[in-house]
Structures are given as structure tokens and as C-alpha cells.
């Protein structure tokens, strides 16, 4: 078959069609990149957030000793002491004060608080036992989740020979090569490998073992960590304790209620979002109650009543410009006007809500005007025709038909306010506030600011907390947007 010879024109057409295809693909790629970015963002944050939704806990029975608490002054009782005794009972051979303290610190500080709480509620508990699920501290929790270091566990499949060598021990096991830093757990003790050689290893005692000679296969195990003891927050000894508790089947992973029911805290495992939730709720209520009436009123005037003159022109230019002013400037306005000039309470939801109201006002006005404009003039004209006053025609006939559009715009504006951080930093909503606010003039914080606050903290445990807060914030925002879309689809009328 002879080669098909293309004329110059055919060649040109082919080239042009190729260019066409390439351009189309390029345009599609732009959308694809954006979609991939969004998907990656959500997945990345989601994966980071997962660990924060569970926490580790273990059952603990605490004896409320009468000599540590006076039933007439329960609040001044030594509850941490009781918890310290209770956990020490579970781990014999922990004798030194420092080690007991370390053991106690595996637990969250909230355990002692909870015991105190229960005894205050029921003073007859003094002298009795209290059993509760004791939450572990964030460090212990992260270690168990493998977020501090990755732990490799070896079950002892061959007998372990164990011989005392002065202070240290000589250990060896068939078919298992020990590594320096490895931890060997025997039924009663724990050893840390210090030196390795061809025929075995030298180890020092973390917890002195009672047995010498040989440990049967299956009676011992060993742990290797990817990070050295210096570069993790959980020491080898603490790791041994946690491993013992795990082997005893005590440690349970539970849904982390504290994340939702607690206020903010310096301790990661106790830090929760309740304060931020309530703060956001108050702030958004203030925003809604101010911005919605003002926005609708302004839109009604500009769309329905305003004569075309310089004053209304000025208003319109102002609204359009305000919509594009950086949000941090509104924070400066709030600081100088609401706080310094009017003397409203600093850090409060009231001021935050007012600042956000000014911020979203242009958005609401523009959306409301569009909604009013889309109502056909014939409706107003009919009302005027049967003798309604101008205002009656607008308020009774035009506005009700524009309500779905106004609501949609308002919800989108509110969703924006809910995600806004920068202006609130200026008016002091960034302060650490452990209490849940009870009124709109109380110092408060909001969800996005809480995200920022947690993201600045050095503890690694706060990182997953931050991601969890972000996921919750995004779900709330998604709900708002879904509601707006639902309203738009359900009530929107095309004329």
C-alpha cells in the first residue's frame, strides 16, 4: 500500500485539530488539578484527625482513704495521692518516688478530678472503693497508637537464657538477634539490651527480674522501637509498664467524648471543643441578628425605594468596595471602635459577632438585592394596581417571594463568618479560655480560632486534635452549604 500523501492543507487541518485536542485537555487538567488538591487536602486532614476521635483508658479501682480526705472538706482532699496509690498497686516493684510519679503520669490529670467529682456528689464514698475508666495521658495514648515511634514486637519463640553478670545480665535466644536498645520482657522483669555480640547480648535491668537461668519459649517477648529513648516522650520504663497493662488486657480504646464535652485545656487529652462550639453559636447568633435585618433593609431600600442619585450611588460603591476589603481590616475596626471607643467587653462573642456582621453585610445585601430583582415587576404592579401603597406592595408581595433567595444568601454569608479567623484575633478572641461561655459578653473563642490556637501548641498530641477540630468545622460548614443548596432547589422559582 502506498503511503498516503497529505496535501499541505490536510496537514494543516490535522495540526489544527491536534492543537484543539491539546488545548481542551489542558483546560480539563486545570480543573482536575484543583479537584485533586481538594481531595488530597480533605484526605490528609481526615487521616491526621482519626486518632483524635479515640482515646485510651484502663479500669482503675481507687480506694478513697479517709486519711486523705476529710468528709467535711472534700475539695481539699489529696485525690491525686489516692490515684497514685491505686495505679502503684497494679504495678508492683515500682518503689522509688520518681518512678511512682512517672507511673501516675501515665494517667490523665482528669482521673483525680473525676474521683473528686464523684466523692463530692456522694460523700458516703469516703472509705470505699471507686471504680472508673481512667483516661491515659496524651503521651501514653500516642505511644499506644504508634504515633511517637513505631514499635516492633517479637514473641519469644525459643527459650531465653538469662545469666546475671554483676549488675548486668547476659542474654541469648536461638534464632533471635538482639539489637541495642531492644527491650526484653520476662515474666517478672524487663531488660534493656546495651551491647550485642555474636553469641548473645548484654543487658541492663529496667525492672530486676526474679528468675535467672532460662525462660521458656512463649514466656518472654521483646520490643524494638524505631526511635531512640532520647527522641521520644515515653521512656523505656514507661513503655514496659504500658506493655504490661496491654498484656493484662486492661487498656481499651474508646470514643473520645472529651473532645466534644470539655472546654479548652492545656492537657491535650482533656482539651475539648465545647467552649468553641458555644462561642461560635453565640457569635453567629449575634451576627445573624444584626446582619440579616440590616442587610435586608438596605437591600429593600436600594432595590425598591431608592431614587437614583449621588447618595445611593455612594452607598452602592461603598458596598461593593467593602465586600473586597481584607477581613483583617474589619478586625482593626472592631478593636478601635467597639473595644477602645465604645468599651465593649474584650474577647466577647458580642464584639466578635458585630465585627463579623459588618464583614458579611455586603454579601447579604448583594444576595438580597439579586433575590429582590428576580421577582418579576408584574407582581408589584398588580398590587399597586389594586390600590396598595408602594410599601404594601413591596412588603406584602415582593419580599415574601424573595425570601428563599435572601435566606440562601444569608446562610452562605453566615457560613463565611463561621470560618473567619483573622478579624477575631485582633479583638482578643485568641486568649486561652478554659470555661464554657454562658452569655454573649463572656470571654469566648470560636471554632476556627480554636483550630489556630491548637495548631500553635508544641505538643504533638495537639496536632491530631487540631485536625479533628478542622474536620468538625468543615462538617459544620458543609451542613450550612447543603442547607443553602437545599433551600435554593426547593423554593427557587423561575418566572
Amino acid at each position: 500500500m502506498p503511503d498516503i500523501v497529505l496535501t499541505a492543507q490536510q496537514q494543516r487541518t490535522r495540526k489544527r485539530n491536534l492543537t484543539e485536542k491539546r488545548f481542551r485537555r489542558l483546560c480539563f487538567a486545570a480543573i482536575a488539578v484543583t479537584a485533586v488538591f481538594l481531595a488530597f487536602l480533605v484526605m490528609n486532614l481526615g487521616i491526621k484527625a482519626v486518632p483524635a476521635f479515640t482515646s485510651s483508658a484502663m479500669p482503675l479501682t481507687i480506694n478513697v482513704e479517709p486519711d486523705k480526705v476529710d468528709s467535711t472538706a472534700i475539695a481539699s482532699g489529696d485525690f491525686p495521692g489516692m490515684v497514685k496509690d491505686a495505679i502503684a498497686k497494679l504495678m508492683p516493684k515500682v518503689e522509688s518516688r520518681a518512678d511512682r510519679k512517672k507511673l501516675y503520669q501515665l494517667l490523665s490529670g482528669s482521673v483525680a478530678d473525676e474521683v473528686q467529682h464523684r466523692v463530692m456528689a456522694d460523700p458516703s464514698l469516703v472509705g470505699k472503693d471507686v471504680t472508673l475508666q481512667a483516661t491515659l495521658s496524651a503521651d501514653a495514648d500516642m505511644f499506644l497508637k504508634g504515633q511517637q515511634t513505631s514499635t516492633t514486637k517479637f514473641a519469644g519463640t525459643a527459650p531465653l537464657s538469662l545469666a546475671a553478670d554483676g549488675e548486668a545480665f547476659k542474654i541469648s535466644a536461638q534464632g533471635h538477634g538482639f539489637k541495642a536498645g531492644e527491650i526484653v520482657l520476662t515474666p517478672t522483669g524487663a531488660l534493656r539490651v546495651t551491647e550485642t555480640s555474636a553469641e548473645g547480648a548484654k543487658a541492663e535491668a529496667l525492672v530486676a527480674p526474679d528468675e535467672t537461668g532460662a525462660v521458656a519459649a512463649g514466656q518472654w517477648q521483646s520490643l524494638q522501637f524505631s526511635d531512640g529513648e532520647d527522641s521520644r516522650r515515653t521512656s523505656d520504663l514507661e513503655a514496659v509498664w504500658l506493655q504490661r497493662f496491654t498484656d493484662q488486657g486492661k487498656i481499651q480504646s474508646m470514643f473520645d467524648k472529651a473532645l466534644f464535652t470539655n472546654g479548652d485545656s492545656r492537657a491535650p487529652e482533656q482539651a475539648g471543643l465545647r467552649g468553641a462550639f458555644i462561642g461560635s453559636l453565640f457569635t453567629i447568633l449575634v451576627t445573624l441578628l444584626t446582619a440579616l435585618p440590616l442587610g435586608v433593609a438596605a437591600a429593600l431600600y436600594l432595590e425598591e425605594f431608592a431614587p437614583k442619585n449621588r447618595f445611593t450611588d455612594l452607598i452602592e460603591v461603598n458596598i461593593n468596595n467593602l465586600a473586597a476589603v481584607p477581613s483583617i481590616i474589619f478586625g482593626l475596626l472592631g478593636l478601635a471602635m467597639f473595644l477602645n471607643f465604645f468599651g465593649l467587653p474584650r474577647s466577647s462573642s458580642l464584639v466578635g459577632g458585630l465585627v463579623l456582621a459588618l464583614l458579611v453585610l455586603p454579601t447579604i445585601i448583594i444576595a438580597s438585592r439579586a433575590a429582590l430583582r428576580s421577582v418579576p415587576p408584574s407582581i408589584k404592579e398588580a398590587a399597586l394596581g389594586v390600590g396598595a401603597s408602594h410599601q404594601q406592595a413591596v412588603f406584602h408581595h415582593v419580599m415574601p417571594l424573595a425570601v428563599p433567595g435572601i435566606l440562601t444568601g444569608t446562610i452562605l454569608g453566615i457560613a463565611r463568618a463561621l470560618g473567619e479567623t483573622a478579624p477575631l484575633l485582633m479583638i482578643g478572641m485568641i486568649a486561652f479560655i478554659a470555661d464554657v461561655p454562658g452569655r454573649i459578653t463572656d470571654a469566648a473563642t470560636v471554632l476556627p480560632v480554636q483550630v489556630y490556637l491548637w495548631s500553635t501548641l508544641p505538643e504533638a498530641a495537639f496536632r491530631s486534635r487540631t485536625s479533628a477540630a478542622i474536620i468538625i468545622l468543615m462538617i459544620v460548614l458543609l451542613c450550612f452549604n447543603a442547607l443553602a443548596i437545599f433551600l435554593r432547589n426547593k423554593f427557587e422559582r423561575r418566572w
Binding site: 489544527r16 485539530n17 492543537t19 484543539e20 489542558l26 483546560c27 480539563f28 486545570a30 480543573i31 488539578v33 484543583t34 479537584a35 488538591f37 481538594l38 487536602l41 486532614l45 491526621k48 435585618p293 440590616l294 433593609a297 438596605a298 431600600y301 436600594l302 425605594f305 452607598i315 461593593n320 468596595n321 467593602l322 473586597a324 476589603v325 481584607p326 477581613s327 483583617i328 481590616i329 474589619f330 478586625g331 482593626l332 475596626l333 478601635a336 471602635m337 459588618l358 453585610l361 455586603p362 401603597s389 470560618g419 479567623t421 483573622a422 484575633l425 485582633m426 476556627p448 480560632v449 483550630v451 489556630y452 495548631s455 487540631t466 478542622i470 468543615m474 460548614l477 452549604n481 443548596i485
Partner: protein
């Protein structure tokens, strides 16, 4: 709060009293100039407004107890209207005038807000410039507000802001524009129905979330990538902040450009097709030039947005005021410094706190100029094709 409830209760009471009195007059055979309901409405708004004004006055003058003054004023207003009810009272006309006044006041809030911004920022800036000469602020190249001898040179902040903005625009301009072209010219309804909400979703992601992502995921990635290629890159770099900010701006550019491209009359495209041009040739040689002014203004609005963005740069760009154009160095921006100066202790007599307002003023003026220019271009453009 209590006085507010009392005011509202009194106003409702005034409504019923006046409405009933007018209704009784009508039942007695009098011809009213307004329906009884309007007499009620009038009493309601007069009582309410009187109460609210008294409440505000009581808030400003501590000598006046709100709990007495506000209800008294509301009652007085209600009673005045109640006594004025008569067949000749033009209740509806007066009521509608009051409503209109309230509407005008509400729309004037926009003006008040602008005045408030300018006033609050400008006054504190004046205080700042009394302590620091304007020249050394505008042209100084050293920003060290916490040093023993503080120095407030604006230039490193400006270059940092511009550097990040340029990176952001380099990412966002092609992505945003090409997606807009795809949505407006190529996408079928189904693709549009997926892609548009997707872009809106990205636009709705709070910036604090993007900042966290930039600081914790993008910046370490850039750092390790740089280390793999033998560069050492700061863990807080202009690049990380700029890239993520670029992604944040994509929806803004694409939705504005989408509108602009859709506004180009179909006849222009049809003419081009009739001459035998392919779709991409039409887009590049006919639609794009026609839409160019609008697209330029979309870019300008995007620049203004990037300059004013705060959280991403606060979390990912850092506080180091380096005068550099190296995208892998740590830089700081105007917005970062504003928040750094104001978060924590505020002393309104120190130049450090006041400098935030000077920076705010500069930021406001820059973005205002950009916005006004862009909005004017859009307006002209709309008129051109309308």
C-alpha cells in the same frame, strides 16, 4: 436585656391599645384616614424607637438608669400615639415615612462602616507617624519593632507580601483561567454540575484550615524535596504559603472569569466558527481578547485578595522580615505583622502596637485602589456588552 423585653412588651401593648381605639372610632361611624391596623403599627414603632433611643442614651450616660428610662420613653411614645388616634390622623403615611427612614439608615451603615474603618485606622496611624517619621516607615529596609532601638521599615514587608502574591498568582492565574474556559466553553451540563460545586467547596474552605495544611504538609514536603535535591530550605517558606494561597484563589478567578466569558456575545463566536476556526482558535483569538478586560479585573481582585489574606501567611510564612526575592526563604507580610503586633499585649501609646494601624492603613489603601480599579473595569465592560 430585661429593659429590652419590657420595651417590646410595651410596644405590643401600644399596638393593641391604639388599634382598638381606632377600630372603636371606625365602628362608631367615623371615616378614618388610615385603617386601624396602621394606627397600631404607628404606636408600635414610635414606642419601640423611643425606647431604643432611651436605651442607647442610658448606655452612654451612666447617670441614667436604663431600667427606668427606656420603659418610660417607650410608654410615653405609645401613649402619645394612643392619644393622637383620631379620624384625621394619617397613620399610614407617617408609619411608612418612619419605615423608609429606618431603611435608609440601614443602607447608610455601609457608609458608616467605611468611615469607621478610615477613622479608626487613620487616627491611630497619625499617632504612629508622630513617633516614627513617615519617610523612615515607607522607605526603611529594616523591620524590627521589638528591638531595643525599634525600627519600622515597611519595605521588607512589602517585598514579602509581593513575593507570596506573585507565587500565588503564578499558580492561580493559569489554573483559574483554564478551568473557567473549560467550564464556560467545553463542559457539558453534567460536568458543570460537578465542577462548579467543587470549586465553591474549595472557596468555602476556611483559610485557617489551608494555613494548617500549608504549615504541616506542604512546607515539610518542600523542605524534604529541597533536601533531596541538595538545597536547604527554611521550614517556613514563601513557597509553601504562596502555593496554598494560589489554590485558595483559583475559585475566585475561575468564577469571575466564567461570568466574564459567558457575557461575551454568542454572535462573536458564531462569526468565528463560520470562518472555519476551531473551538480553541475561537477561544484564543476571539473570546479571550473580548473578555480580556474582565479577566484582568478578575486577576486584580485576586491580587487584592492575596495581599489581604492573613491566616495562611500567619501559619506558613513566618515572622522573619527578610528583604529577599528567594521564594524558598522565610519572609513576612503586612498582614502577618499586623496580627503579630496586636495579638497579646496591646499598648496604645507604644509605636509597636500603633504600627499595626499604620500597616492596616497601607493595606486598606492598596486594596482599595486595586478594588476600585477592578470594579470600574468590570462595570465598563458590562456596559460595553449589555
Amino acid at each position: 436585656m430585661v429593659s429590652l423585653v419590657i420595651i417590646v412588651a410595651l410596644s405590643v401593648l401600644a399596638y393593641f391599645a391604639s388599634q382598638m381605639r381606632a377600630a372603636a372610632l371606625a365602628a362608631g361611624g367615623a371615616t378614618l384616614r388610615a385603617r386601624p391596623t396602621f394606627h397600631g403599627y404607628l404606636a408600635f414603632v414610635v414606642a419601640l424607637l423611643a425606647g431604643l433611643v432611651a436605651l442607647a442614651l442610658a448606655g452612654l450616660t451612666p447617670a441614667l438608669p436604663a431600667l427606668i428610662a427606656a420603659p418610660a420613653a417607650a410608654a410615653a411614645g405609645g401613649i402619645a400615639v394612643f392619644l393622637a388616634v383620631s379620624p384625621v390622623l394619617r397613620a399610614r403615611v407617617i408609619f411608612e415615612k418612619i419605615v423608609l427612614a429606618v431603611l435608609i439608615l440601614a443602607s447608610a451603615i455601609a457608609i458608616f462602616t467605611t468611615i469607621g474603618i478610615v477613622a479608626s485606622v487613620a487616627v491611630e496611624s497619625l499617632h504612629f507617624f508622630q513617633q516614627v517619621p513617615m519617610q523612615s516607615f515607607l522607605f526603611g529596609t529594616d523591620w524590627s519593632p521589638t528591638a531595643p532601638v525599634p525600627s519600622f521599615g515597611f519595605v521588607p514587608l512589602l517585598t514579602g507580601t509581593l513575593l507570596i502574591t506573585v507565587i500565588a498568582l503564578t499558580v492561580a492565574a493559569p489554573l483559574g483561567l483554564l478551568s473557567a474556559i473549560y467550564l464556560a466553553e467545553y463542559a457539558d451540563l453534567k460536568t458543570r454540575a460537578i465542577a462548579k460545586p467543587l470549586l465553591e467547596l474549595l472557596a468555602g474552605v476556611p483559610t485557617v484550615v489551608l494555613g494548617f495544611f500549608a504549615a504541616l504538609t506542604v512546607a515539610p514536603f518542600i523542605k524534604t524535596a529541597g533536601a533531596a535535591m541538595g538545597f536547604s530550605i527554611a521550614s517556613e517558606s514563601a513557597m509553601a504559603a504562596g502555593l496554598v494561597m494560589g489554590m485558595m484563589i483559583v475559585p475566585l478567578i475561575s468564577s469571575l472569569s466564567d461570568d466574564v466569558i459567558n457575557a461575551v456575545p454568542q454572535a462573536m463566536r458564531d462569526g468565528s466558527y463560520a470562518m472555519g476556526a476551531t473551538k480553541s482558535e475561537t477561544i484564543r483569538k476571539v473570546v479571550f481578547p473580548a473578555a480580556l478586560p474582565g479577566i484582568v479585573s478578575a486577576f486584580i481582585l485576586a491580587i487584592s485578595r492575596a495581599i489581604g489574606e492573613t491566616m495562611i501567611v500567619v501559619m506558613a510564612a513566618g515572622l522573619a522580615p527578610n528583604l529577599t526575592f528567594n521564594p524558598f526563604a522565610a519572609v513576612t507580610t503586612v498582614t502577618v505583622q499586623i496580627s503579630a503586633m496586636l495579638v497579646g499585649d496591646q499598648e496604645f501609646d507604644s509605636a509597636k502596637t500603633l504600627s499595626a494601624f499604620a500597616l492596616g492603613l497601607t493595606l486598606f489603601l492598596i486594596t482599595l485602589a486595586l478594588n476600585i480599579y477592578a470594579l470600574r473595569v468590570v462595570r465598563k465592560y458590562k456596559e460595553h456588552y449589555a
